[in-house]
């Protein structure tokens, strides 16, 4: 492996993606807290990290765990639809997609994260799997289920 880069580089390269999937996974209000928890956990563990080949997948895995913690703590409250849409627009997701992202916000956590990672962060299936801590097949299934539900919802 190569030497780990300064942590600031990791933050610069991936802060946007982490924030984007956290928006998708926990909504606007939770995203900022989860973001801090994610990067604090990452910073604590960073010097002991042995494999730097997939820093993004590693970060997204941590982000996913923090999102799950968040949902557990809040008893899986649904995310207010209007807020998700507003945040999505702020992060340069075109306005015409508002309704779509609002619908994404109502999906169950795993499907929601899979859809956000695939279409919000443009990750391939294997990276989604790494981020969700599941097999690529399971990731594909979550994505498929999520999309099916969205189609029904938006039809």
């Amino acid at each position: 492996m190569t030497a780990l880069p300064p942590f600031q580089t990791v933050l610069d390269d991936h802060a946007g993606a982490v924030m984007a999937i956290l928006h998708g996974a926990v909504g606007r209000d939770g995203a900022e807290d989860c973001f801090q928890e994610t990067f604090l956990a990452a910073l604590r563990a960073y010097p002991r990290l042995e494999d730097d080949s997939n820093l993004r997948g590693w970060l997204l895995t941590i982000a996913h765990r923090k999102a799950i913690d968040h949902h557990r703590a809040r008893g899986r409250n649904p995310v207010p639809v209007a807020e998700v849409a507003e945040v999505a627009t702020q992060d340069d997701i075109p306005e015409r997609d508002e309704q779509l992202w609002a619908a994404v916000g109502t999906l169950p956590p795993k499907q929601r994260a899979a859809v956000a990672l695939r279409y919000g962060s443009d990750l391939p299936h294997n990276e989604i799997a790494a981020a969700l801590g599941c097999s690529p097949e399971a990731a594909r299934r979550s994505l498929h289920e999520g999309l099916k539900r969205l189609r029904k919802e938006l039809a």
């Binding site: 030497a3 780990l4 880069p5 300064p6 942590f7 600031q8 580089t9 933050l11 802060a15 946007g16 924030m19 995203a31 900022e32 973001f35 801090q36 990067f39 604090l40 910073l43 604590r44 960073y46 010097p47 945040v87 702020q90 992060d91 340069d92």
Partner: protein, 193 residues
């Protein structure tokens, strides 16, 4: 990057500082010579990068030799910036900053600690520095130590001249060395060539 992400990064940085996770905090600051990179550990100032040095390389070096927990945290270096600003205005002759010497070992560190005691308005030769570090014959090694100074400006290696009185070299370039010695009143404004 969105404002919201910037805010979240600021809060993360503040909490990292609170939890003592900033092994290396750094910032860049303007100087009359161009941007300086300033890096410190909990022990003190560990690295000053001069304008002609590549900041990314310096940060990678810090990640390798000190800790990978390297984070930009301007607020942590307010006091360093304040003293440097005063120095460049000619209003500060002696820095009161804690220093972290870990990037220099053995003889080099002894030379640099001796350099740290050279007063404003004074200059010393490499030979004198070698003697103060305990080995008068190691003049060349003393010169190398001076050239490898990780904390230039604050540890005033620009006050070390070549034995015999010539200006000698400087990591930040000879014009910068001349300008620093002019600032400190050692050289006239228009130095003899």
């Amino acid at each position: 990057m969105s404002t919201k992400t910037d805010t979240a990064i600021d809060k993360f940085r503040a909490r990292a500082a609170e939890e003592g996770l900033l092994d290396v905090a750094y910032t860049t600051t303007d100087s009359p010579f161009g941007p300086l990179l300033l890096a410190q550990t909990p022990r003190g100032l560990v690295r000053v990068g001069l304008p002609n040095q590549d900041a990314d390389e310096l940060l990678t070096d810090l990640a390798t030799r000190v800790s990978t927990r390297v984070l930009e945290a301007p607020g942590e270096l307010d006091e360093v910036r304040r003293e440097l600003d005063l120095y460049f205005e000619g209003k500060l002759e002696s820095f009161g900053l804690p220093l972290d010497w870990q990037l220099s070992g053995g003889f080099r560190q002894r030379v640099l600690r001796a350099i740290d005691r050279i007063l404003y308005v004074e200059t010393r030769s490499s030979t004198e520095m070698a003697r103060k570090a305990g080995n008068e014959r190691a003049v060349r090694a003393a010169g190398t130590a001076c050239g490898s100074n990780p904390i230039p400006l604050v540890v005033p290696c620009h006050r070390v001249l070549r034995t015999g009185g010539a200006l000698g070299g400087y990591g930040g370039g000879l014009p910068m060395k001349e300008a620093l010695l002019q600032l400190e009143g050692v050289l006239d404004e228009s130095p003899a060539v």
